[in-house]
C-alpha cells in the first residue's frame, strides 16, 4: 500500500462565546446561576484591584517581588468556577483570582509576599496545593493526585494551571503522557498569556496552537478565548465532566494576555510594544463580562461603582490585618521547623547552636 493518510481521532477546536465586542453566542451560553455570576464578577474585580494594590505596595517596598495577574482573571477564574471544595487545584503562581475564589484570605497573600512562609499554608478545608514556582513541575503533581483520586474511588478532579512557557518543559510532556496512559481525572489549563517573561509565544514552540499538543497524548484538547469567562467556563465544565465520568484528561489552552509586568523585577519595555498591550487592553475580560451582566440586567453602572468601593474597603481591611499579623511573626527559630516530621539530632544541635549564637552575638553587639 502507498502513502496513506492517518486519521486522527480528536480534532482541535477553538471556542469563543462572548467576543470582545460583547457579542454573545446564545447557543453556547453556559447556564450559571445569577448569584454565581455576581460572585464571579465580584472576585474578578477584587482580584484586579488587589493586584493593583499589591503592585503599589511592592513599589513602596512594603512587599517583595510578585507576579501580577491583570488580564488573566477570566482565564483562571472561569476554569475553577464549577469546582467543588474537594476537587484539587494545583496552581503555578499566576492564578490569584482562582485562589481568592477558593477562599484564600487576602491578608495571607500580603503576608506571604513579605517573606513569611507560614502564610502559604492552605486552609485544611481546601484541597489545593501551594504555588509552584519551578515552571511545569507541578503538572506532574496533578497527575499523581488525579491518579490517587481514582485509586480511592472518588469522583473529584485535579485541575492544574501553567503558562505557555511551561509547555516547553519535559515535565509538561511526561505529565500529559502519563495522564493519557492512565486516563486520570485531570484538567490541564494552560494560561497562554503570549509571553514567558521576554519570550513571545511564537518563539516558545512552532506548533500553531498549544491545544493541539493534546494530539501527542491521545487526550482531548481545546483552545478557548481566555478573556471570555463564559468560554473558559464552558470548556472547563466540559473537561471536568469528562474527568469525573472517567473519560480522561483534557488540555485547555486559554488564549489570554499578561497586561502587567512578568514580576515586579521585570521591565516589559525591553521586549514588547505599548501598542500590543493597548490592543489587548481592548480585550480586557472584566468590561466584557460586565457588559454581559449588564445586558442580562444583573448589573448597572451604579452597582459596579458600589462594587468598586466595596472591593477597596475589603482590600484596605486586609492590608490592615496583614500589618497587624506581621507584628506577631518573625521568630527566626521557625526556620528549623517542618524540615522533617521529627527533627534530626544534628539539626537539633544546629538549632541550639543558633540559639546560643543569637544570645551571645546580640550580647556582643550590646557590649560593643
Amino acid at each position: 500500500m502507498p502513502k496513506t493518510p492517518i486519521e486522527l481521532p480528536d480534532a482541535i477546536e477553538f471556542l469563543s462565546i462572548l467576543d470582545e465586542h460583547g457579542e454573545l453566542d446564545r447557543s453556547l451560553e453556559p447556564s450559571i446561576a445569577e448569584e454565581s455570576l455576581l460572585r464571579l464578577h465580584h472576585t474578578m474585580l477584587l482580584a484586579r484591584r488587589f493586584d493593583e494594590r499589591l503592585l503599589s505596595l511592592q513599589r513602596q517596598g512594603r512587599i517583595g517581588t510578585f507576579p501580577p495577574i491583570a488580564g488573566q482573571e477570566a482565564a483562571h477564574l472561569g476554569a475553577v468556577a464549577m469546582l467543588r471544595p474537594s476537587d484539587w487545584v494545583v496552581p503555578a503562581f499566576r492564578e490569584m483570582a482562582a485562589d481568592i475564589w477558593r477562599g484564600r484570605p487576602l491578608e495571607s497573600i500580603i503576608v506571604y509576599n513579605n517573606g513569611f512562609n507560614e502564610a502559604g499554608r492552605i486552609p485544611d478545608d481546601r484541597n489545593d496545593m501551594p504555588i509552584s514556582i519551578p515552571v511545569g513541575s507541578q503538572i506532574l503533581h496533578a497527575v499523581g493526585i488525579a491518579w490517587a483520586i481514582r485509586y480511592r474511588g472518588q469522583d473529584d478532579v485535579a485541575m492544574t494551571f501553567f503558562g505557555d512557557g511551561a509547555t516547553s518543559q519535559g515535565d509538561f510532556h511526561e505529565a500529559l503522557n502519563f495522564a493519557g496512559v492512565f486516563q486520570v481525572p485531570a484538567v490541564f489549563v494552560c494560561q497562554n498569556n503570549q509571553w514567558a517573561i521576554s519570550i513571545p509565544r511564537a518563539k516558545q514552540t512552532r506548533s500553531q496552537t498549544l491545544a493541539q499538543k493534546a494530539l501527542a497524548y491521545g487526550i482531548a484538547g481545546i483552545q478557548v478565548d481566555g478573556n471570555d469567562l463564559l468560554a473558559v467556563y464552558a470548556a472547563a465544565d466540559e473537561a471536568v465532566k469528562r474527568a469525573r465520568s472517567g473519560a480522561g484528561a483534557t488540555l485547555i489552552e486559554c488564549v489570554t494576555y499578561r497586561m502587567a509586568v512578568h514580576t515586579t523585577a521585570d521591565d516589559p519595555k525591553r521586549y514588547r510594544t505599548d501598542t500590543e498591550v493597548e490592543e489587548w487592553r481592548r480585550k480586557d475580560p472584566i468590561p466584557r463580562f460586565q457588559a454581559y451582566l449588564t445586558d442580562k440586567g444583573l448589573l448597572t453602572a451604579d452597582a459596579i461603582a458600589a462594587e468598586e468601593s466595596a472591593v477597596q474597603a475589603e482590600i484596605q481591611a486586609a492590608v490592615d490585618r496583614a500589618e497587624e499579623e506581621m507584628k506577631r511573626l518573625g521568630d527566626p527559630l521557625l526556620m528549623f521547623e517542618h524540615a522533617y516530621a521529627e527533627m534530626p539530632e544534628y539539626l537539633k544541635e544546629q538549632k541550639e547552636e543558633f540559639i546560643r549564637l543569637l544570645a551571645e552575638t546580640t550580647e556582643e553587639q550590646q557590649n560593643a
Binding site: 513541575s137 492512565f182 521547623e337 517542618h338 544534628y346
Partner: protein
C-alpha cells in the same frame, strides 16, 4: 527463619507493607509484569493487581513527580528508578518539591514517598549502571538517604522507609542483590532510620562503611585480626542522611584511628562529611588523620577495570595498617 537473598528480602518488605496498608503503591519502569529488571517486585502484580503495581511509561521525572502528587494525596508510593545512574532526571522533583512540600505547606502536606534505586558497581554492567552518587541526595534538607548492606537490614529498613512520613531515597547495593543469603524473619521487622550499627566490635581502629562496601570491610577486619592481630571496629552507616554520628563519634573516641570506606568518588563524597563530623566531635581523640578509602575522582571504568576502581580488601587492610603504623 527462611534464608533469603536481598532481592527476596526487599520483595518480602514490599509484599508485607502492601498487605498491611492499602495506601502503599508500587510504580516504575517494568516493575509490574516483568517484576522489575532485578525481580525485586516479582509476583506483586499477580497478588495486588495493576492498580497497585503500576508499569509506567519511560520517564523518571514523571514517575517521581507523579509520586509526589500521590503522596500529597495521602498514598505511600514506592517508586523504582531502574538504575541510580538515571535518578538524576528526578533531582528537580526531589529538591524542588518532595523534600520541601512539608516545609512549604507548613505541615499541611507531606510527601511520604520512597524512591528505590539499585546503585554501585561490581556487576559487570554497562555505562551508567555502576555509579554511586548518594552525595547528591544526602545534601538535600528534608530528604532521607538510606543504604542497606544485607538482606535482613534491607528488608527492615525498606519497611521503615515506606512507613516514614518523609521522602526517602533508598539506594540498594545491586552487587549484593544475590551475593549471599541471610535469615529474614517472616514476621514483621523494622529498623529505625538515622541509626547506624556496630557490625563488629573492636578496640584498635574504626572502619566506617555502608552498602556494598560492608563486605570487603568486614573481610578486611577479619584479615586484620587473623594476619595482624588487630581488632577493627566496623560501623555500618545504614542511613547517610540525616546522619546520626553518635556511634561514629563514640568509636572514634575509643580507637582514635578511623578509616571511611565508600565506592563514591572521594571529593565531596560521604567520607568528607564523616571526617568533618569526627573533627567536630572527636578531634582531640584522633591519633592520626582519618583515612578515606574510596573510589577515585573519575568516571567508574567499564567492567574490565572496575575492580581497580572499587575499594577491596587489600586496599582497606593496607589503609588500616597505615593508620596503625602512623
Amino acid at each position: 527463619m527462611p534464608k533469603m537473598t536481598m532481592v527476596q528480602a526487599l520483595n518480602l518488605a514490599l509484599r508485607q507493607e502492601m498487605e498491611r496498608d492499602d495506601s502503599v503503591v508500587v510504580l516504575g519502569e517494568d516493575v509490574g509484569v516483568d517484576g522489575g529488571v532485578f525481580r525485586v517486585s516479582d509476583g506483586l502484580i499477580q497478588q495486588f493487581g495493576e492498580t497497585r503495581v503500576v508499569d509506567t511509561p519511560l520517564a523518571e521525572s514523571g514517575i517521581v513527580g507523579m509520586s509526589v502528587g500521590m503522596a500529597v494525596y495521602g498514598l505511600k508510593p514506592v517508586c523504582e528508578i531502574q538504575f541510580s545512574g538515571f535518578s538524576y532526571y528526578t533531582l528537580h522533583q526531589i529538591e524542588n518539591h518532595a523534600a520541601r512540600l512539608r516545609w512549604r505547606s507548613q505541615g499541611r502536606y507531606t510527601v511520604p514517598l520512597v524512591m528505590r534505586a539499585p546503585y554501585g558497581g561490581g556487576v559487570r554492567a554497562l555505562e551508567h549502571h555502576s555509579e554511586s552518587r548518594e552525595t547528591f541526595w544526602s545534601h538535600i534538607p528534608g530528604l532521607k538517604m538510606v543504604i542497606p548492606s544485607g538482606p535482613r537490614n534491607a528488608r527492615a529498613l525498606l519497611v521503615s522507609a515506606i512507613r516514614d512520613p518523609d521522602p526517602v531515597v533508598f539506594y540498594e547495593p545491586k552487587a549484593l542483590y544475590r551475593a549471599f543469603r541471610e535469615e529474614v524473619p517472616d514476621e514483621e521487622e523494622a529498623m529505625p532510620l538515622s541509626r547506624s550499627v556496630i557490625a563488629r566490635e573492636g578496640r584498635d581502629l574504626t572502619l566506617i562503611a555502608y552498602g556494598a562496601m560492608m563486605r570487603p570491610t568486614l573481610e578486611a577486619a577479619e584479615e586484620l585480626r587473623k594476619k595482624h592481630g588487630v581488632e577493627a571496629e566496623v560501623i555500618d552507616l545504614l542511613t547517610l542522611s540525616p546522619m546520626d554520628d553518635t556511634l561514629l563519634v563514640a568509636s572514634a573516641r575509643k580507637t582514635g584511628r578511623v578509616a571511611v570506606v565508600h565506592e563514591a568518588p572521594r571529593s565531596f563524597g560521604p567520607g568528607a562529611e564523616i571526617v568533618a563530623r569526627l573533627v567536630e566531635k572527636a578531634f582531640y581523640h584522633l591519633e592520626v588523620p582519618v583515612a578515606r578509602v574510596t573510589g577515585y575522582d573519575v568516571v567508574i571504568p567499564l567492567f574490565s577495570r572496575e575492580t581497580h576502581y572499587l575499594p577491596g580488601v587489600p586496599r582497606i587492610v593496607h589503609a588500616a595498617r597505615q593508620l596503625l603504623a602512623a
